[in-house]
């Protein structure tokens, strides 16, 4: 199956807003595998990722009418919904999530920290972002990728990377600043 175009996805979302369940099924077929990958990567647990994906698609169905094609590409909009649900899931109040669960999560992250292969894949998919990421220092790159792909908070990043909280915060902030400069600069030329 070839990847659906933005125009096709936008059309499906517009029909979802009109309560067209067939369009919604098509949208799910076209995007769920990519979005599930995002949920699995952040939550690190299949069962959690399934919950997150379910919540996300129910939300997509109910909010399709508020999707604005001028403001964002359809896949960006849907991915943001999935990432937000996944992050909310990880950041649930602690009475719901035990510390053992969080420890297990951190251990999983250690096993599968994003490495050069992830950057290489990024180069094929999103060339501009990749070339801007390449301009960051290794520490900035690593902390941004860990946060993006694994949903680590500042505190968890500090633990994971074995560096003081202040140092990690600075890496992230400078990295984001440089990324913005680079991406927005490229946009203008």
């Amino acid at each position: 199956m070839s990847a659906p175009t933005n125009a096709e996805l936008t059309d499906m979302l517009a029909r979802c807003a009109l309560a067209d369940q067939r369009a919604f099924a098509a949208l799910y077929e076209a995007t769920s595998a990519k979005l599930f990958a995002v949920a699995v990567r952040i939550t690190r647990r299949r069962d959690w990722a399934e919950e997150v994906l379910q919540e996300s698609f129910v939300r997509i169905w109910h909010h399709a009418g508020s999707y604005d094609g001028v403001k964002s590409a359809p896949m960006t909009w849907m991915t943001a919904i999935v990432r937000n649900r996944a992050l909310d899931w990880l950041r649930r109040p602690t009475e719901v999530q035990s510390s053992e669960e969080m420890d297990a999560h951190m251990a999983n992250v250690a096993d599968e920290a994003p490495g050069p292969e992830q950057l290489a894949a990024l180069s094929a998919q999103a060339g501009r972002l990749h070339s801007c990421m390449e301009q960051l220092s290794d520490d900035q790159k690593q902390s941004i990728m860990l946060a993006f792909f694994h949903g680590l908070s500042h505190g968890e990043l500090s633990e994971q990377m074995g560096k003081p909280l202040g140092t990690v915060k600075t890496w992230v902030r400078r990295g984001l600043d440089r990324l913005k400069q680079c991406l927005d600069g490229l946009q203008e030329t």
Partner: protein, 238 residues
Amino acid sequence: MNYEHPTIRDRLAAEYVLGTMPGRARRRFEAQLKLSPVLRGLVSEWEARLTPMASSLEALPPPRRVWHAIEQRIRGNKGASRHPGFWNSLAFWRAAAGVATAALLILGIVMTNVAEPPTAPKPMMVVVMDDMQTRSPAITASWEPGSHSKLIHLRVIGHAEMAPDTAWELWMLPGKNRPPVSLGLITTHELQTLEVPAQIAPKLDNAWGLGMTVEPAGGSPSGAPTNPMLYLGPCVKT
């Protein structure tokens, strides 16, 4: 946190999208996000910048059961899909009748306890918000009491229209002269689901009622209603 300073605001938006904010900061930021169109714009910009990173992930088809669960939850979009039969249930209409009576007392903001209808198999919280001008039901809301993550299922009755550059904001009315608490913006869609902010969710079951006001686009700038309640109704447990 200073949400007014442009640089700080942009950084917060970036950290929110990246996901580095701890839980409480994240929920505070989300509350601000509901109130500020500027902040929402910055978040969209950061989403556009960072989200393409996700395209590098290998596709992973989810098990079929996920789709079945989703389908269950959205099916029968013409009715309240999550609670089949609920809108036809006797308990609901008894509650609605109780509400109509209660509506007469609403303007005095008297804390009435609507007579408890016979218990339905599954308890539900129901609010029938009446249009304060026409006195007819305008929006119904329902949610499961007690659950920790609260979703309010809303049904807009009739074909309501929203004036340009305005927004509909839903409020929890705690009662006992305490001020309304924003639950977020809603649309004119017939069926919609609103996720209650985590810090408000535990209080919702004990609220006196819900109300809706018309606010400037983006929602009330002050966090308090700027107009009188247009739609209003008390919470009833079925």
